[in-house]
Symmetry: D2
């Protein structure tokens, strides 16, 4: 199979770097264009990220000498991954879609647009039907598909099998989120050393609204929000990668602890598709009393799984558990790549 | 006023050290006895804690050369503070009470005994009436009074004014607890660096049961548990001192956000008593979007306040907020000292 | 005594905040002017530092509603403390000195000027004689006095008694510096979590050059650099406050370990002056095998001491030891305040 | 090639776990025996390390159900890796060697024995000649070979090419060592949060003495210590894995910075042997101003390289630089495995 040429928008930031790393040697996609802001444009990628490459020892060889371009739709590829800052992502992504590109975006700007799929392949692949409407309505040759916020993805992956089997009425979540979620330089070290920072701008709103769309039913024109009450408290803790979330849920139907575990362990709706980045187990259940832990579990299934543990009854709602996942892999760049793989498998790209 | 002679049981541990520190220069109490395990007995205090004094640069001068005794009721004082390990606290505290000592204990062993007050002076001072029953039933000259677990104290201080004004039906709390709560050596550094540890043995149970007793009504013979559903998820985070707790509550009566703030800010039931360790404001309300934070707020009111912030509606229950407090001051040693001050003021000591 | 009116230049930054805090209730000085950049000018101080007040729970009451001014010499006081950023400090400090102000500066801009004292009161108070020359040469009514870099101060405080008694030929130092030294936001959390950052721009140069001036002899016109070889390796570590420095020295004369300890412990050249911020022991010697430690020892003598420990022979030079001190108190704001107190005591102010 | 059967002594500790992990799928060695203390003996490995497996998400499949044995020489293999605690390693290792086993030990007990090689394959492979003498003298069928302390290995790897080309007269080193070096539970979190711990028992002595043996010349009967003065200051910092060391050296011959870099980059004495765990570049030189950093560089060459950076002149000795390496891979388990690979390649095993 000839590889599909892809570009990365916002390639120099924290999530952009993850795209560069995760796409090294990808079996379906080949990075042919790296785009970023004007300051970076024209430089070799390694010079553009000098002093800011933060995720491993070395920049992948393929990207080092690639010349960074501006974010204009002349990247010579069909698919772009967007890791653009929300301040600029909106119109740039639209420009690419208008010009015929498939845009798989991690940015929040278009997530809640009624004709844009907010997608987790294991959760709501049927929402891809919105693309058609999006193209008609906006008269675009290409289209935009988005992935959710990093906290939302892992929580919703864990909620989905419960929703399917037992129904969910209420969800209360307190998050303990990693530093890398804030980008670079992001959180000041003086704000997090020996500390918890109990506020992340707009994060609680995102968790609360995105969840409803992700779990919602596809109507004729749009997704109807799921009828679930969701309340989130979001905190930053002194962890490099990996969001930990304490979740309580109220179910519609009675379920035993064993039922819950079964639901998690047997959840694997993508199994047949054999997508390259698809984890063998989207939800890994840990049974030790003290798991999941970010430093130990964030790389489960190469960072593409949500790891659930401490499943037990909740005296206020029905059950409570801890879910953990890598925030810049499954929670960002890996999510957008998996979305693109699904679209490729469904014949929507290429 | 002549000072009351007091002893400290378990004086060499983390909470014991806090007692030693907080009682330096106390206007009512004078430490005349330090007691600990057999290994420490016979040594000068500074030798007994060598390499284990962890809370400040220097051991208070008064304690340094004091000879550590065994935990036997011959300490030549009326009041003892107990920071004993739960493995041994039960019978030792009983022995002291039997011998006529007032025991103000931070240990968990007797907290849930039906005839032992589990006390927060601002919350349930009327529970001191249990002492009489305790002495009759057990035929003791002295008695035991306990303070709650470090997480429970701060949460219940925040719940009390809401309970009084609006009633509380449900409470969901996720804690992010400090390392000092586990004593010394306590949490291994390899378990907490770049990590969240999602489990603290017995902690959730303590928060759930102690809260009901603290908010319960004094019946004829015992405290009747409050009719509140409480569910806790407890985590350890990489913070030295100061527990942060994300709380959601369902109230019995409607309340506006302003009502809630008023309830917190006007809560000061001990005002008239002028106890030496009593904070001016037991509940400090912070209005900044990003407060309270442990590193910045844990020493509010010399570590004796509970600091509340981020008060806002909860879409699952009614309101949510963050409460933070120092776990070894108001959450442990300072709590037991305040309890003793209340008892002194009520004529129960001396 | 009527208090001397003082101003703070750069009052909103990390060191500026320390000045505001340390000058609260100062017996000799009264803050009457807070000055900062144009963005802050015109705002109440508490509004100007909103979200950036980082050193304790609350802004001192005296400063909260004080209106921040621009950095122009119309602050209505005699003495200003400068915590200005090096990018702007140079000309602003000169303007104040020209206008008759005494400028006690923490900024690096004028430290190495041949007619500006680089001062540690216990080390080289005789260098104040440069002021006269400075005023003549520059035709200024006021003058500038500076304190050294935060790492240099603590190392030189420890070197001085050795220099006096035994002579020093060579100094090798490796520092492990705190985050607060980089200001706010300063070091990105992603650069320091689970990490050591082995580079601090210009820091090694400052330690190497400032030390020579501080230990130098006052000549007729200028200070002659001490004849000492100094080599520094400077690192940032995950510590909020308190620089730790591993020092090795080659002495000119033989000395026993006991001689060294004696030299440290008996070093107190300011004793007679009774300056308000002067520590009782400028050098605190710890004899435990595992001290000094930043979290435990940084507040020794209210943050104004240098704490020395682990004194032992060095098989390459003669002796090695660890010195630790608070970098924003004795290492910055407290240093400038002590310098001003010395100048007041010497009749140079007011 | 049929794989050589190997055992691991002390398989449940931190370094033992690394052996288990690094030997998974090893091309030459196959783990057939796991041995540990009496408490662990008889248990399945996964049960023996329950709650103590700390280095990754999952125990390698091959080891999980393997039954842990006692440390007696009936493990049915030829080669054992020893990660035993120094308190017990001495006689147990001797017993294995006496019984005919090749013992590749990470423990310190026999490192300084005159007839035991203290080995870094790239540095002193000729010291393997001591084995013959060891066997004759002790009348053993097997023998013991040791690897150095984790700090020493990385420093000496960096010193070796300088020694060979320019000679070394003096070395001053200050280390900032990772937590994993202290085992588990090891360093208490309360001792390292917001802190530097300036003392590691016996570490400075090890660095100072082991270096001399490693760089020493093989005499007729023993290794003659290198004539180098070495002085170390060792600190623990809040880093999970990866020791950072600031080194200054005095050379015997003049060298330019470029000479130094050349010496590092061309150092690869094992190239021809193609040992499975041998890094392509034993010394990786980083030229960025702010490298090496433990979180970013510790896994260079799969954790088997020493990463050097910040090479620059030293005003007290001749040159200074920073060297960093993984302390439980190249600094411990990986070192012993590479030693065994060298011995296999030299025909000393099997």
């Amino acid at each position: 199979m000839r590889k599909i040429k892809v570009g990365i928008l916002g390639a120099t930031g924290m999530v952009g770097q993850r795209f560069v790393q995760l796409l090294e040697g990808h079996p379906w996609f080949e990075v042919t264009g790296l785009a970023a802001s004007e300051q970076s444009a024209g430089k070799a990628y390694e010079d553009a990220v000098a002093g800011r490459w933060k995720i491993s020892a070395d920049i992948p060889a393929y990207a080092r000498r690639m010349k960074v371009k501006e974010c204009r739709p002349n990247l010579g590829c069909k698919l772009v991954f967007s890791a653009l800052d929300a301040a600029v992502a909106g119109p740039i992504e639209e420009e690419f879609a208008r010009a015929g590109y498939v845009v798989s975006s991690n940015s929040r700007n278009h997530r809640m647009d009624s004709d844009v799929p907010l997608l987790i392949p294991e959760v709501n692949s049927e929402h891809l039907a919105l693309i058609k409407r999006q193209q008609q309505q906006r008269k675009w040759k290409g289209f935009i598909v988005t992935n959710p916020n990093c906290s939302t993805i892992h929580m919703v992956l864990a909620l989905k099998p419960l929703m399917d089997r037992f129904g969910i009425e209420k969800v209360l979540v307190t998050t303990m989120q990693a530093l890398s979620g804030a980008g670079y330089p992001g959180v000041a070290s003086m704000d997090i050393i020996d500390n918890v920072y109990p506020y992340i701008g707009m994060e609680e709103e995102k968790v609360q609204t995105e969840t409803l769309k992700l779990l919602g039913k596809l109507g004729s024109n749009r997704v109807e929000d799921a009828k679930v009450a969701v309340s989130a408290q979001c905190n930053r803790v002194n962890v490099s990668d990996g969001h930990t979330e304490c979740v309580s849920v109220k179910l519609s139907k009675a379920a035993t602890e064993k039922d819950i575990i079964n639901a998690f362990e047997n959840f694997n709706p993508l199994k047949q598709l054999k997508l390259p980045s698809s984890p063998q187990h989207p939800i890994v259940v840990r049974k030790e009393a003290d798991r999941p832990q970010p430093r130990i579990d964030r790389m489960a299934e190469k960072g593409m799984a949500s790891v659930v543990g401490r499943i037990r009854p909740c005296s206020v709602l029905d059950y409570k558990f801890v879910v953990l996942g890598h925030n810049t892999i499954r929670g960002a760049a890996g999510a957008a790549i998996l979305n693109a793989e699904l679209m490729k498998a469904k014949g929507l790209i290429g």
